[in-house]
């Protein structure tokens, strides 16, 4: 099929399958999946700028489907999502400025690659350690199985640090009844700002940073972190899509075709979260940042972007 906006020929079946796979990942882990979608579009000969902008537009559509499904399951904290969107957009702008500064200095590719590899590997290592430890603790002293809203309450080997952060008394303190957390607004803004900074700096939605930091820093239960992250992504990715579309980097037809596959994949991913406990979801999350790191290492070694 010919897509006139980006002047590219891509099979719609290929696009729908890529969308479907990313949809499953997004619905289950609350990530945008740009580390797969970007290279998947590039492989078909699409220009890098179009791949980034179109991927963002597709992320909006997929996140709407997955967030709607998560909301039906009670996994979205709207208040937290809206507050985080403010910090994310601010952070994304700063990240983009940082990239411009590095471009002027002439070493943008190397710095971004090294930072992203360090970040991806650190997240994966930490999550293996934490979720493995939590699962081991649960095995040694199994909790009684609970159904309904209580089943979403999480256990984490990092809980003592999370509790200390929640006790920081920097007014205004924000009550999040859906997540069962009271925390300083500044901590929420800081966490979302850092997520946005990485999003602007490394590209994509940076769900691989935001979802874990919502669990470990803010103390949000994993299921709610996944759903709320998706809701927040709708807002921040819409902003990114608009910004890229103005610059002529979005082929919305390709995003619409990808979204037909993502719509069904995202629902499967979202529904699947019901069958897994928080630590299991976190352990299954570990390979995602590592895939991102592998792609960056490949681009460094091969000398060109995927």
């Amino acid at each position: 099929m010919f897509f006139p906006i980006s002047n590219s020929h891509i099979s719609p079946i290929y696009l729908a399958i890529v969308g479907f796979l990313i949809g499953i990942l997004g619905g289950f882990f609350g990530v945008g999946g740009s580390f797969i979608a970007g290279p998947a579009l590039r492989v078909m000969g699409m220009d890098w700028n179009f791949a980034v902008g179109t991927d963002l537009a597709h992320i909006v559509g997929k996140s709407v489907v997955a967030a709607k499904r998560h909301r039906a399951l009670g996994n979205v904290d709207l208040k937290l999502g809206l507050l985080m969107a403010v910090g994310t957009i601010g952070g994304a702008e700063c990240g983009a400025q940082l990239i411009q500064a590095l471009k002027r200095a002439g070493n943008v590719n190397f710095v971004v690659s090294i930072v992203s590899i360090a970040v991806y590997v650190s997240i994966s290592t930490f999550m293996i350690w934490e979720s493995g430890k939590t699962l081991l603790q649960n095995k040694r002293s199994p909790r009684e199985k609970v159904k309904g809203a209580k089943s979403k309450q999480d256990q984490s080997a990092f809980q003592h640090v999370t509790r200390s952060i929640q006790r920081l008394n920097f007014p205004p303190m924000i009550k999040l009844p859906v997540s069962g957390v009271t925390i300083s607004l500044w901590v929420i803004i800081l966490v979302s700002f850092v997520g946005g900074l990485f999003s602007g700096f490394l590209g994509g939605g940076a769900g691989y940073i935001r979802m874990p930091s919502m669990v470990y820093v803010l103390g949000i239960p994993t299921h709610l972190a996944v759903g709320t992250d998706l809701f927040e992504i709708i807002i921040s990715a819409s902003y990114g899509t608009f910004s890229h579309a103005i610059k002529g980097n979005v082929d919305i037809l390709i995003a619409l075709v990808m979204n037909t596959g993502a719509a069904i994949g995202a629902q499967i991913g979202a529904i699947s979260t019901q069958y897994f406990a928080g630590p299991t979801i976190r352990l299954a999350f570990v390979p995602l940042p590592l895939i991102g790191a592998a792609i960056v290492i490949y681009t460094l070694v091969a000398g060109h972007n995927l």
Partner: protein, 80 residues
């Protein structure tokens, strides 16, 4: 448990088949005609194109989510 899994898988396969037919129809009836108009909009009116792009992707997502939910409800109702 096994029968439940088989039922769910059956319902999913039927849903996927119906959904695929609907999506193919959508490709040929809607997206082909939208292509030319969106291309012109992208060349001549970038800001309008940016707004329309977001509305289209969100609108399509909401419609598809409703279609898949409805399909699943109907198919599940029939297989139970």
């Amino acid at each position: 448990m096994k029968t439940e899994t088989i039922k769910t898988l059956k319902a999913f396969v039927v849903e996927l088949a119906i959904y695929a037919v609907l999506v193919v129809g959508y490709f040929f009836l809607v997206l082909r005609f939208l292509g030319g108009w969106l291309h012109q909009l992208e060349i001549h009116h970038r800001y309008t194109y940016a707004g329309v792009a977001i509305l289209l992707i969100i609108g399509q997502a909401v419609v598809l989510e409703n279609v898949t939910t409805l399909l699943l409800r109907i198919i599940r109702g029939r297989t139970e």
